[in-house]
């Protein structure tokens, strides 16, 4: 099979996959912090709303969520570009899992730290943003790393709502060449290479939030 003809297609598909993944991770992280903080600090009403969000997106099929936003939402007059739909749904899905990570890490900040903050008369927001979150973020990093890679792999589902990502491109090429073994091998390698890049990026972010080796590593991270 003549790879030179297909390589640009594959790279283009990989580019679409990477774009969707990165956009979903960034938006998903924002959603994760927003809803995760609401879970802990939101009081009786807002924390329930945040709980509903996480449970709905964690408890339903991502593929069906994609179909619902792609096919069902336009019926009530709301329609987005396929790529926008793909990014929003993946982001909401990652945000649902991420909010649980944020909630768990915030709850793991020791009461002694919170008491020290109280004794110094920090208010609630200062305690959250200056004491709790900077410590909790360190705890979140390994789980966020997994979630980012999970999001990359789940992004292949967007090929089913007609987005020309890496998986979609691979299928098109296979339909033309009928060479399943080669094309899917190359596709797997592409996903693996992209997840390596993600892992390195996450390690770098983790290094920053740990302030090098200074921040104590907790036993379970």
């Amino acid at each position: 099979m003549d790879w030179s003809a297909y390589l640009p297609m594959i790279l283009q598909g990989a580019g679409v996959t990477m774009t969707i993944t990165l956009a979903s991770i960034v938006i998903g992280a924002a959603l994760a912090f927003f809803f995760g903080i609401l879970r802990v600090e939101g009081g009786p009403v807002l924390s329930k709303i945040a709980l509903c969000y996480t449970e709905v997106f964690r408890g339903t099929s991502l593929l069906v969520q994609l179909f619902w936003f792609y096919y069902a939402l336009p019926l009530v007059g709301l329609s987005f570009e396929p790529i926008t739909t793909g990014i929003l749904v993946l982001a909401a899905h990652a945000g649902g899992y991420g909010a649980e990570i944020v909630r768990g890490a915030l709850s793991s900040v020791s009461t002694q730290q919170l008491e020290a903050a109280r004794a110094l008369n920090f208010n609630r927001f200062q305690t959250l943003f200056r004491i709790s979150l900077p410590q909790a973020i360190v705890e979140m990093m390994p789980a966020f790393g997994n979630l980012a890679i999970e999001t990359l792999k789940l992004s292949s589902l967007v090929s089913l709502i007609s987005i020309a990502d890496l998986t979609f491109t691979a299928q098109s090429i296979r339909n033309l060449t009928l060479d399943s073994a080669s094309i899917y091998s190359v596709t797997l390698l592409c996903y693996f290479a992209m997840s390596l890049v993600l892992m390195v990026a996450i390690r770098m972010i983790e290094h920053v939030v740990r302030r090098g080796d200074v921040f104590p590593r907790s036993a379970h991270s």
């Binding site: 110094l120 008369n121 921040f215 104590p216």
Partner: protein, 259 residues
């Protein structure tokens, strides 16, 4: 002590504190004059740390009244039944500082930032002023050269000295020490005690100290209070309580701790 003319700075009257069915403070009455250095001693679970934690507003209590310089820990006008609002408690908290057994420095901040963060954010002090003051305090505790270190890079004794500087940076009128040397290796206790000893010379600073260091208590305090079962059994000048205790329980406790 001229308690008649001086209204006490801190006054507990009939304060009862329960954790579930456990009564930790039982109709507890206790007052401290401005500038007084008081040591609280007694077996664990006798309520002495709870007194500090209530003063720091870390624990609510169920009955009784507590005032600090006339400010009630309950909402004014609500008949003393309800815990004061956060806004009201924050006003009280501005006057009180606390040093914890486990130091509780913020691990993600350098020593200097640990000290300046609250003066800047809470008191609205200018950064330059807060830093100059922090350096002074670090010199007082002998750690000016460690200002850019992180807590994890310091020994326990050094961490506790930073924690004392951090509490002092808020210029508290009342400073509470909750077993400040209990978590330290024996050879590090001395350096922390010597910092507390220096603070005890500050005339205006009111100090409440929970400790098992009896010799130190004798040296720095104006008054020693022996706690048992949520009440003060015996109190008085350190020589009297530690030298010639009248109460049977005090004697038992002291002999158990000295042996």
């Amino acid at each position: 002590m001229n308690e008649k003319t001086d209204t006490p700075l801190i006054e507990f009257s009939d304060v009862t504190k329960r954790f579930g069915i456990l009564t930790v403070l039982d109709q507890f009455s206790f007052s401290v004059a401005k500038g007084e250095k008081v040591t609280l001693i007694g077996p664990s679970g006798s309520g002495k740390s709870t007194v500090l934690r209530i003063l720091m507003t870390l624990e609510p209590f169920q009955e009784g009244r507590l005032t600090l310089d006339g400010m009630s820990y309950h909402e004014p006008g609500v008949g003393g039944r309800f815990q004061a609002s956060e806004k009201h408690l924050r006003q009280i908290r501005n006057h009180v500082g606390m040093v914890f057994q486990s130091f509780n420095l913020f691990p993600h901040m350098t020593v200097l930032r640990n000290i300046v963060e609250a003066p800047i954010r809470v008191l609205g002090m200018a950064r330059a002023e807060a830093e100059a003051r922090a350096i002074e305090l670090l010199q007082m505790v002998g750690l000016a050269d460690k200002k850019d270190h992180y807590p994890v890079q310091l020994s326990g004794g050094q961490q506790q000295r930073v924690a004392i500087a951090r509490a002092m940076a808020m210029r508290p009128r009342v400073l509470l020490f909750d077993e400040p040397t209990s978590a330290l290796d024996p050879q590090l206790v001395g350096e922390v005690l010597s910092v507390i000893r220096d603070l005890a010379h500050e005339h205006d600073l009111t100090m409440l100290l929970v400790t098992h260091e009896m010799r130190f208590a004798r040296e720095v305090s104006d008054r020693v209070c022996f706690f048992d079962k949520g009440r003060i059994c015996e109190q008085g000048a350190p020589e009297a309580i530690l030298g010639a205790p009248k109460n049977e329980r005090t004697r038992e406790f002291l002999s158990s701790i000295l042996s």
